[in-house]
Amino acid sequence: MDIVPKRYLEEHQRDRRKMMHFRLQQVGMGVLLLVLLWMPQQANGYVLGLALQAMIAVVGAIGLNFVVGFSGQVSIGQAAYMAIGAYSTAVLMGKFGLPFLVALPLAGVITAGASALVGWPTLRLRGFYLAMATFAVHFVVIMVISRWDFVGAQTGVAVDRPSFASGDVSFYYLTFAIMALLVHMAFNIEHSFVGRAWGAIRDRDLAAAAAGISLARFKLWANVWSGFYVGIAGGLSAAFLSYITPENFPFFLTIQYLGMLLVGGLGTTLGGIFGALFITLVPEAVRFLPALFGAGDAISPTLLADGQMILFGVIIVGTLLYAPKGLFGLWEDIKLYFRTWPFSY
């Protein structure tokens, strides 16, 4: 008989590995954070611009994920809600003189209200019918902002950045802080009762109702939170562009965001982040492909332009076929591989 049971030693080794894994995650996050905070000091305007667009996309994608990924509803009004957020920010700052840091969350609240206003009468709709309802929202919103002189109509409206974040670097840090806060909130929502209720509604709504989850209440909450996040993304986008017109919110923007969720992985915050980064950065990377392969001017710019569009479609279809869980699924597989190495499972 062993003095120290073998089984105890084996369990202790497993626990030690788990602790190391947890610390590894913390160290990894720390390094990532340092890189993201140090990067703006070294990056040029192009990289900074891309980083800003990516961060704004992260916020918008997480917002859309609440409705589409977490609670399983269909929404193709993303561009419209971003427009509401953007124009609300512009009007609150320009017409009412509110500072940016007050106007932005207010714009989020206004967009949340608009989303709830649409979500309430459409609670009983599903699938194609819900899609059509949200599709109609897009046209109504764009029509209103195109003709309403108060918001500049077709001419559009200028949006100033806050004075303390007027430059690209300072605006980056401001956007990063807002994004980090919203991502943290999203993770908490995902792992809270609300997040689990959404998952239950998405997977088996009748069973969820039978278990006492109010479908109406939680679906509406999904719309509200989604509207809040997307409104803030719209406001940040307006400040980044510094001038917005209705043409900044075409229907294709909605398709892009849906693409982010499909590629990144529906139903997880991390999936929304992965998808936003991927869809924002990869098409831009195509611009550099000729130089990367030493082709220089040999590849026609029109061919490259067509290539970007084709790449977007191929990525979406490829993800649906071969990685239905998206980049998040791939990420989980990678982690599992290293966690169980050298074993297969």
Partner: protein, 413 residues
């Protein structure tokens, strides 16, 4: 599982690698490491308006090749075009412009196509002090934008000249005929209305306006409305395919009207390739820049001869105004580079352009003057061309010289 994991790792690696690539092609802003002057181009090379961006790029490439190979460059330097696609999406325009300015470090961006795209980047370009060329809606130029240059007459003035032609030359005013304007519900349509409405008021012409979605292709109710209004003239401010759809519907409903396109961006004989020939002889277009098919214009003839010599017959067959637009932008920016001198910098180029006065391009557009202009858009005149059907081919022939608008249009805010 392992296969997918490997694929995922490979995709992640490639993505990160590509995303971190930066093509540093310039040592000093505007001059590449091999001593070429870099001129950026941002336009729709993909998407529904790709015909515009591609035509411009084709013309600009042709002209730059000519300058480099036959004139030996400018001030001892060759010129190099650095094109980027934005699919007419302002979000992509931002990324494309920032790449051109900070990574490729171009001397100027000539042009950036479209009103919404330029509005998204003009502040950035102003802060970076980089010259950019844009089209002819006046709105983007209103305010203090000393690095933003336009070519040709503003759309507002072209539209006014067109309506005044209908009123006076076609006799609408005398006969009490009314006009129906169908314009896209966007900034471009807005600019058109800014010219049409005051001109109609001054001429005492009844003008009915109907706004349609951009790129609309269903005009059943619109044509019914036109019939009900009794208008004899229809002004269509939509791009090619959309105007063609309107004409087809008008023909289907037996509408007997005369059509007019109110500005150079919509005045195209190519419309009739899609619309059929019913209204070919009842079509007019207002424009400040010459038509691509107009070989009576010396510059157009020169350009077409060069494409002919290069065997590019498909370019000659196209009736696309943007070939002309690309050509005149290229000529103007090359002249600016020349005037800026051998020690060219971005600021010197901007100064050279701002001091440009009555620069004659040899055709294509009226002589360019930026000096003393409150808005850096050249041109205050437009001409009218008429559609003519001969041997089954529709062409546009000028019927008036360049003329100013009678009405005064306030372009500033």
């Amino acid at each position: 599982m392992k296969g997918k994991m490997k694929l995922g790792l490979a995709a992640l690696g490639i993505t990160l690698g590509l995303a971190m690539q930066q093509t540093a092609t310039a040592q000093t802003p505007g001059i590449s490491s091999d001593n070429k002057v870099l001129i950026g181009v941002v336009g729709p090379l993909s998407g529904p308006v790709a015909y515009a961006g591609r035509a411009e790029l084709e013309s600009m490439n042709m002209y730059f090749d000519y300058v480099n190979k036959e004139l030996g460059g400018v001030n001892g330097r060759q010129l190099k075009l650095v094109p980027e696609d934005d699919s007419y999406d302002p979000g992509k325009t931002v990324a494309a412009v920032r790449k051109l300015v900070t990574v490729d470090k171009v001397m100027a961006i000539a042009p950036i196509v479209g009103t919404a795209p330029i509005l998204a980047v003009r502040e950035y370009l102003n802060n970076q002090k980089v010259v950019a060329f844009n089209g002819k809606a006046a709105d983007p130029f209103i305010g203090n934008w000393p690095y933003l240059f336009g070519l040709g007459t503003p759309y507002e003035i072209q539209a006014a000249v067109g309506l005044e032609f209908i009123a006076n030359d076609l006799g609408a005013k005398k006969n009490g005929d009314s006009v129906y304007a169908v314009v896209p519900d966007d900034a471009f349509g807005n600019a058109t209305l800014k010219g049409l409405e005051p001109a109609a008021k001054m001429q005492g012409i009844k003008l009915t306006v109907e706004k349609v979605p951009r790129n609309a292709d269903q005009y059943g109710s619109v044509v019914t409305n036109i019939k009900r209004s009794g208008a004899k003239y229809v002004i269509s401010g939509s791009p090619r395919a959309s105007t063609a759809a309107l004409m087809r519907e008008a023909e289907a409903q037996g509408l007997d009207v005369t059509f007019m396109s109110p500005n150079g961006a919509t005045t195209e004989a190519a419309i009739f390739d899609l619309a059929g020939k019913r209204y070919a002889n009842h079509y007019y277009g207002a424009h400040s820049v010459s038509q691509w098919e107009d070989e009576s214009d010396p510059l157009i003839k020169w350009a077409r001869d060069r494409f002919r010599a290069a065997g590019k017959t498909e370019v000659l067959k196209e009736k696309n105004f943007f070939y002309v637009w690309g050509l005149i932008v290229a000529k103007t920016v090359v002249e600016g580079v020349k005037r800026a001198g051998p020690d060219i910098t971005r600021e010197k180029l901007a100064d050279a352009l701002r001091n440009m006065e009555k620069y004659d391009l040899g055709g294509g557009v009226a002589p360019v003057t930026y000096k003393g202009q409150s808005l850096l858009i050249t041109g205050t005149t437009a001409r009218i061309s008429k559609g003519t059907l001969a041997d089954g081919v529709v062409s546009l022939k000028p019927v008036t010289p360049q003329r100013s608008a009678q009405v005064t249009i306030s372009l500033g805010k």
